[in-house]
C-alpha cells in the first residue's frame, strides 16, 4: 500500500497575519471587502472573526492607528514597511495615485510599501512601528526614528508650520538627537513618546492633558526628556494610546502621567490632568508590562496576573465600571484550572476601549467594548469578561486599534 507524506521532518512553522474589525477604512488591507471583485458580491463592512491577510513577507511588528495600520518586517530589503487604511494626513507617507501622477491616495486598501529616506537602505532594519490618531512613527536600529503624518501639535517632532496641508505630503522627518539609541516608540492620540536605551523617556506633541509629562500644558514640537518621578529611573517599557501614559521601571514600579479624568491616576492625586510623571504606589507585586487604553489601564505582573483599573468595561463583569485601585482578573478566566495550572498571561495590550491578553500557550483573550466588531469574537455585543478568540495558530503578538485588530500568528 502507498504511504503518503504530507509533512517531512524539516517542516517549518509559517508566520501568518490575521486581521479583523471595521473594514471600510481599508485598515484591514483586503480590498475585496470594500470594493468586491464580482458585481453580485456585497461589500463587507465588518469582519467579525480573524481573516488571514496574505503577505509574502515575514511581518515582525504591526501597529494599529485610528483607521489605519502599519506592518513592518525586519528585513534588509528596500521595502520594509507597508501601510493601509486612511491616508488623509499622509500618515502612510505619500502613496502616488496611479490614475493621476500628481495626486496621492486618500484611502489605501491594500498593504502598500512606504518609501523611507534611509541612508543605508540595505543595512538598516526596522525594529518597531507605532501609530497614533493621525501620525505614525517608525523605529530603525541605526538611523533613529522616522515620523510622518499630522503635525499640528508637533507630534512628529518638528516645528509646527501654520496652515500646513498634511494630505499628499511626502515629508518624512528623521529624529536622531537623543541621549542614546531609541529602543521603543509609542504613539498616544496626538503625542509621541520615545524610550531610549539608558532608560530615559522623551516626549513631544499635544500637552493639554499633561500627556507629554514635561510640567506644562503646552504643545512641544521637539522631543524633550521627562523629569518628575522618572528622573534617574531606568524605564523598561512605556505605553500609551489615548491621553494617559504609563511607564514601567526595571524594578517593577509603575509611573503614570497625563489624563486622569477616568480615575487612572486617582490613587495619587485628585487632579484630572497630571503633567509630571508620578509614581503609582500599587502593592500588587513586581510589574512586568503595562498597557494604557483610552479610559482604562492594565498591568501584567511577574506571576502572570492581570490587574485593571480605570473606567469602562474592565473585564470583571458588568458591575465593575470604574475603580481607582487595580483589581485582579481571576486566572481561571484565561483557562487556568487544576488540570492545566501552568497557564500564565504573557502579554497585555490595549486598544481605545478594548483589552487583549496573550497566554503562554498562544491563546488570545479579548474583552471590552466591541466597537464595530473589533474584538473578533464573531458577535457584535460587548464582552464583559475575557473571551477566547479562535485563531488557527499560536498567537505571537497582537496590535489593537480603535475599531480593528491585527495579530501575528505562527501556524501549527
Amino acid at each position: 500500500a502507498p504511504v503518503f507524506q504530507y509533512a517531512g521532518k524539516a517542516a517549518r512553522r509559517k508566520d501568518r497575519v490575521f486581521v479583523w474589525g471595521f473594514s471600510y477604512s481599508g485598515a484591514l488591507g483586503v480590498p475585496s471587502f470594500v470594493k468586491p471583485d464580482a458585481g453580485w458580491k456585497k461589500p463587507r463592512r465588518i469582519q467579525p472573526t480573524p481573516y488571514r491577510l496574505e503577505t509574502e513577507e515575514k511581518i515582525s511588528s504591526a501597529a494599529c492607528g485610528y483607521g489605519f495600520t502599519l506592518l513592518a518586517s525586519n528585513t534588509t530589503d528596500i521595502t520594509k514597511v507597508w501601510g493601509m487604511g486612511l491616508n488623509k494626513d499622509s500618515q502612510l507617507g505619500f502613496q502616488r495615485s496611479r490614475r493621476d501622477q500628481t495626486k496621492g491616495y486618500e484611502y489605501v486598501l491594500e498593504p502598500s510599501p512606504i518609501p523611507l529616506p534611509l541612508e543605508k537602505p540595505q543595512q538598516t532594519r526596522v525594529l518597531q512601528v507605532s501609530c497614533g490618531r493621525a501620525h505614525s512613527l517608525i523605529l530603525t536600529d541605526s538611523e533613529g526614528v522616522f515620523t510622518m503624518g499630522n503635525n499640528s501639535y508637533g507630534q512628529c517632532g518638528r516645528k509646527v508650520v501654520e496652515d500646513e496641508i498634511y494630505s499628499e505630503s511626502n515629508l518624512i522627518h528623521q529624529l536622531n538627537e537623543f541621549d542614546s539609541r531609541v529602543v521603543q516608540v509609542v504613539c498616544g492620540q496626538d503625542h509621541s513618546l520615545f524610550r531610549t536605551k539608558r532608560g530615559a523617556v522623551y516626549a513631544c506633541g499635544w500637552g493639554a492633558d499633561g500627556q507629554t509629562g514635561l510640567g506644562h500644558y503646552n504643545i512641544t514640537s521637539v522631543p524633550t526628556k521627562l523629569r518628575g518621578d522618572i528622573a534617574g529611573v531606568n524605564i523598561i517599557q512605556v505605553s500609551s494610546y489615548g491621553d494617559c501614559c504609563l511607564a514601567v521601571s526595571d524594578e517593577g514600579e509603575v509611573f503614570g502621567w497625563g489624563n486622569s479624568e477616568y480615575l487612572q491616576l486617582a490613587s495619587v492625586t485628585e487632579t484630572t490632568q497630571v503633567n509630571v510623571p508620578r509614581h503609582l504606589p500599587f502593592k500588587i507585586g513586581k510589574i512586568k508590562e503595562a498597557a494604557c487604553g483610552g479610559t482604562g489601564n492594565a498591568v501584567l505582573t511577574e506571576e502572570g496576573n492581570i490587574f485593571v483599573w480605570g473606567y469602562g468595561i474592565l473585564g470583571k463583569g458588568p458591575n465593575l465600571t470604574e475603580t481607582a485601585v487595580p483589581e485582579m482578573i481571576p486566572p481561571s478566566l484565561f483557562g487556568w484550572s487544576d488540570f492545566s495550572s501552568d497557564i500564565r498571561v504573557a502579554r497585555v495590550r490595549c486598544g481605545l476601549s478594548q483589552f487583549a491578553a496573550l497566554t503562554n500557550r498562544g491563546e488570545l483573550f479579548v474583552w471590552g467594548k466591541n466597537l464595530r466588531g473589533c474584538l473578533g469574537t464573531g458577535r457584535m455585543e460587548d464582552q464583559y469578561f475575557p473571551w477566547r478568540v479562535t485563531v488557527p495558530g499560536e498567537v505571537v503578538d497582537v496590535a489593537c486599534g480603535v475599531d480593528h485588530m491585527v495579530s501575528m500568528v505562527k501556524s501549527f
Binding site: P2, V3, A7, F339, E381, F385, R388
Partner: protein, 218 residues
C-alpha cells in the same frame, strides 16, 4: 421455599458504552431507574482514556476498520501534539460557554465563569471540557479526555482529526471510560464480581455519593 431470590429485575442503563469500548458502565436496578434520569439531568462530565496510533486512517476511525491510507509520522513531536490538544481544549471551552445559553452580559454569568461552573444543562452537541496527553511514544499516544454529551465514536473522530491536524493520520485503538459522573473505576465491579452480594455492597457504597451530588445540582 427455594428458588432464585429475585425473579424479575428491571434494569436500566446509564450513559451508553460502545461494543468496542470498555470501562465504567452505570446500571440502575428497580427503583434506582428513577435516579438514573435525575443523574442524566445533572450533566456531569465523564473521563475517558483514549489510546491512538499514528500512521493509519480507516473508515470508522478505529484499528479494526477498512484501511484508507497510510502516512508518515516521524515529524510529530510531543510538543506539537500538546499544542493541538491545547487548541482543542480552547475551542471546546468556548463552545461550553456558548451552549450553556446563559446571557453573557450578567454579573452572575461572570461569577459562574470565574468558578468554572458554566456547562450546558440541556441537550447539546458533544463538548470536551478538558483534554491532555498522558503518554507519547511514536507511533502510539494516550490522551485523557473529560467530556459531556459525547459518544465513543465522537472520541474516535477526535483522534482522527488530531491526526489530520498534525498532517498525518491516526486511528483509535482503545477507548476506556474511567469516570462517569460520580462513579469511578474503584466503585466499578469487574466481571468476576458480578454476583448478588457484591452488587448490593456496591449500591450501598455509592448511595451517599449519588444523593449528595443530586442535592448539589437540583
Amino acid at each position: 421455599v427455594r428458588g432464585p431470590r429475585f425473579r424479575r429485575l428491571k434494569i436500566g442503563a446509564g450513559h451508553r458504552l460502545d461494543v468496542k469500548a470498555s470501562g465504567v458502565f452505570v446500571l440502575g436496578i428497580g427503583h434506582g431507574n428513577k435516579l438514573l434520569t435525575d443523574l442524566y439531568n445533572c450533566h456531569l462530565t465523564k473521563v475517558y482514556t483514549v489510546k491512538g496510533l499514528f500512521g493509519k486512517a480507516t473508515d470508522d476511525f478505529s484499528d479494526t476498520g477498512k484501511l484508507i491510507e497510510k502516512t508518515t509520522f516521524d515529524h510529530i513531536t510531543r510538543e506539537k501534539l500538546e499544542r493541538i490538544v491545547a487548541v482543542i481544549q480552547g475551542t471546546n471551552h468556548k463552545a461550553l460557554l456558548m451552549y450553556s445559553n446563559i446571557d453573557m452580559k450578567t454579573q452572575e454569568a461572570y461569577e459562574l465563569a470565574v468558578k468554572g461552573l458554566i456547562r450546558p444543562m440541556e441537550k447539546s452537541p458533544p463538548v470536551i471540557t478538558a483534554i491532555r496527553c498522558l503518554q507519547f511514544e511514536l507511533p502510539e499516544f494516550q490522551l485523557e479526555i473529560h467530556c459531556l454529551h459525547e459518544t465513543q465514536q465522537y472520541l474516535r473522530k477526535i483522534v482522527h482529526e488530531i491526526g489530520l491536524e498534525l498532517k498525518s493520520s491516526a486511528v483509535c485503538t482503545q477507548v476506556r471510560r474511567t469516570r462517569d459522573g460520580v462513579f469511578t473505576l474503584d466503585d466499578a465491579l469487574p466481571r468476576t464480581q458480578w454476583d448478588l452480594r457484591s452488587i448490593q455492597g456496591a449500591i450501598r457504597n455509592c448511595r451517599l455519593k449519588v444523593e449528595t451530588e443530586l442535592e448539589k445540582t437540583l
